[in-house]
């Protein structure tokens, strides 16, 4: 049996789910719609038959588990809409901050939840792991599941969000409790929407269907703005449609199951369908998709709200500023516009949105390990010497790679490969390469490697005039980066090795003394 799976704390997860399912809370009713299997699923591609719990099929199942685990709090008193952004910031400031559910928002009908992914505890629970699981273990587990791709979704006809639909006199405010997130945002924004679109030149292609998260400004009762950057998949699709002066049909899904939302912000190849990865990251359990009510698009069946519409071709309008993930406001730009044609929603739909600000806030957890793992896989494909990738800093603008070094200059070559990956090309700006014995998730170790391995004269390289991330305020002009490579690996021949370096090793008995001291500390504190 796979040892990694044996080590997973499924028991805890099952206990939590058991409690969740018996919850009498009216916000989390167990709705009856088709599941893939009852109770358990079998992973098809493991050597032994391993039973795992049913993955979360919707947001409500996950919220119930978070609450049972003490990782969700409820605000029962009525709040002003703008309090929600402050609460999202506040919860992310706490160690292992919980999701925050607002039951009553002044002037609105429906609840709001924020900070759902906003802690390592919630991130671990999303994967069905113990909430205390260290970050590196979560990385390794995510990496293992990544290799299960593809796990195609199950198609279902009906879904809870199809119960209510509005196609005339649309008023988004009637359904969604919208609010300004940061003080100088230009209005209310959807910051955590899963947006589904197709390739205009190949609309029937399943692989080219895109699921992505792009910020959306509320510009009317039935009108939105969308940020579609040229290197985003939706930017690619919009460019193709605009060349033909055609609309881009889109479905904007809010309040999806946590892995679907996670995958919507994960960089993968253009011709790969995110839904096949959701099944993989759900440990082999397929997700459920259904046809959008009015458009020929596949959407997550479990979502709370599905907004359908289209991006107007060749139209741009003032959008922003918006407080963005690099911790600063974007400028105001002329950006694309969306016309809403229908909104479908569950009874009492929960609006899930996130706070983003100076890192770390919820968005950083949504672009941490899911940025690290795909970059790791792409590097590992050509350089099996690579041990781990930590690309958790502002969506991979900062990256640390640990690798074995075969010969002089090897570390620099690994860095340059990173800069030729689809995501790394635009996002990665500061790249630190460390030896295989340095844990890239342990920043003290990384600093040790930099302070003792780097000769600034030969180990620091700047590559000028490369693609960049325009929201990075240092990107000049916006969309261009100069790249920095710091090779903090130990020199190897034929590079000149000025002197041999022998690493210190722990004295014999260190492990034994760790146990003794830890026990004494525990006794002293009790």
């Amino acid at each position: 049996m796979n040892t990694m799976i044996q080590r997973l704390p499924w028991r805890l997860f099952l206990v939590a789910r058991g409690r969740a399912q018996t919850s009498s809370n009216k916000l989390f009713p167990k709705e009856t719609f088709p599941m893939t299997a009852a109770g358990t699923n079998v992973i098809p591609n493991t050597p032994d038959t391993i039973k795992v719990p049913q993955a979360y099929m919707d947001l409500r199942e996950f919220l119930a588990v978070l609450e049972a685990e003490g990782q969700l709090v409820r605000i029962k008193d009525e709040v002003d809409p703008e309090e929600i952004g402050a609460a999202g910031r506040a919860s992310a400031n706490l160690k292992n901050g919980p999701a925050v559910l607002f039951e009553k928002v002044r002037g609105y009908k429906n609840p709001v939840v924020t900070n759902v992914h906003g802690s390592w505890a919630n991130h671990a629970l999303m994967m069905g792991m113990d909430k205390d699981t260290p970050t590196k273990e979560q990385f390794l587990e995510l990496s293992r599941r990544w290799d299960m791709y593809p796990v195609p979704p199950t198609r279902v006809l009906d879904a809870p969000f199809k119960k209510n639909i509005v196609t005339k006199d649309i008023n988004i405010f009637d359904i969604i409790s919208l609010y300004r997130i940061n003080t100088y945002d230009s209005g209310c924004f959807l910051s955590k929407a899963c947006i589904v679109s197709a390739d205009p030149e190949d609309p029937k292609s399943y692989g080219k269907h895109n699921l992505g998260t792009y910020r959306m400004q509320i510009k009317g009762k039935d009108k939105l703005g969308i940020q579609a950057l040229p290197f985003h998949d939706i930017g690619n699709q919009l460019a193709k449609a605009e060349a033909l002066n055609e609309k881009v049909p889109i479905a904007i899904c809010l309040g999806c199951d946590p892995i679907t939302t996670f995958m919507a912000s994960t960089p993968i190849r253009y011709d790969q369908n995110e839904y096949d990865y959701v099944g993989a990251l759900n440990n082999g359990v397929p997700m459920q998709i259904t046809k959008a009510p009015t458009l020929d698009l596949d959407v997550p069946a479990g979502c709370e709200i599905c907004i359908e519409g289209y991006i107007e071709p060749r139209v741009r309008e003032c959008e922003g500023p918006f407080g963005e993930f690099p911790g600063s406001y974007s400028g105001a730009r002329l950006q694309a516009v969306v016309q809403i044609t229908s909104i479908s929603y569950r009874d009492n739909p929960i609006f899930e949105n996130l706070y983003l600000g100076i890192p770390w806030s919820e968005i950083d957890y949504l672009m941490a390990l899911n940025t690290s793992v795909p970059l790791y896989k792409m590097l590992k494909d050509t350089f099996p010497e690579v041990q781990a990738v930590n690309a958790m800093y502002t969506h991979g603008i900062g990256v640390i790679v640990s690798t074995k070094v075969r010969f002089g200059g090897f570390g620099k070559a690994v860095a340059m490969r990173l800069l030729t990956t689809p995501h790394g090309m635009s996002y990665n700006k500061i790249i630190i390469i460390v030896d295989e014995f340095v844990d890239p998730f342990n920043l003290e170790q990384v600093m040790w490697a930099m302070t003792t391995r780097v000769d600034p004269d030969k180990d620091v390289t700047i590559i000028k005039n490369c693609p960049g991330m325009p929201l990075d305020p240092s990107s000049n002009p916006p969309g261009m980066h100069n790249k920095l490579i710091i090779d903090a690996t130990t020199p190897k021949a034929p590079e000149i090795v000025s002197r041999e370096t022998e690493l210190l090793t722990p004295p014999a008995g260190t492990a034994k003394w760790e146990e003794i001291i830890a026990k004494l500390v525990k006794q002293a504190r009790n």
């Binding site: 002044r106 008023n171 230009s186 209005g187 209310c188 400004q217 605009e242 060349a243 002066n245 400028g331």
Partner: protein, 74 residues
Amino acid sequence: MICPRCDTDKVELLVKSPVGNVWEMYICKTCTYTWRSTETPDKTDPKIYNKKFKINPDAIDKMLVIPPIAPLKV
């Protein structure tokens, strides 16, 4: 009414609160800024609105276009 951000008077009522009559939201048809009547003055008062975030209506047409609009295929 004047837009707190771009100081033009092309302001419209966008929506009234769906429950009760507790707030209205307005939209500026020039710069698309929206604000709620119950928000604090730093978001609603043109005189107090942070100058760094003010927008000159004449500059809107010259803003960066994202993404660039592809040429039409013939």
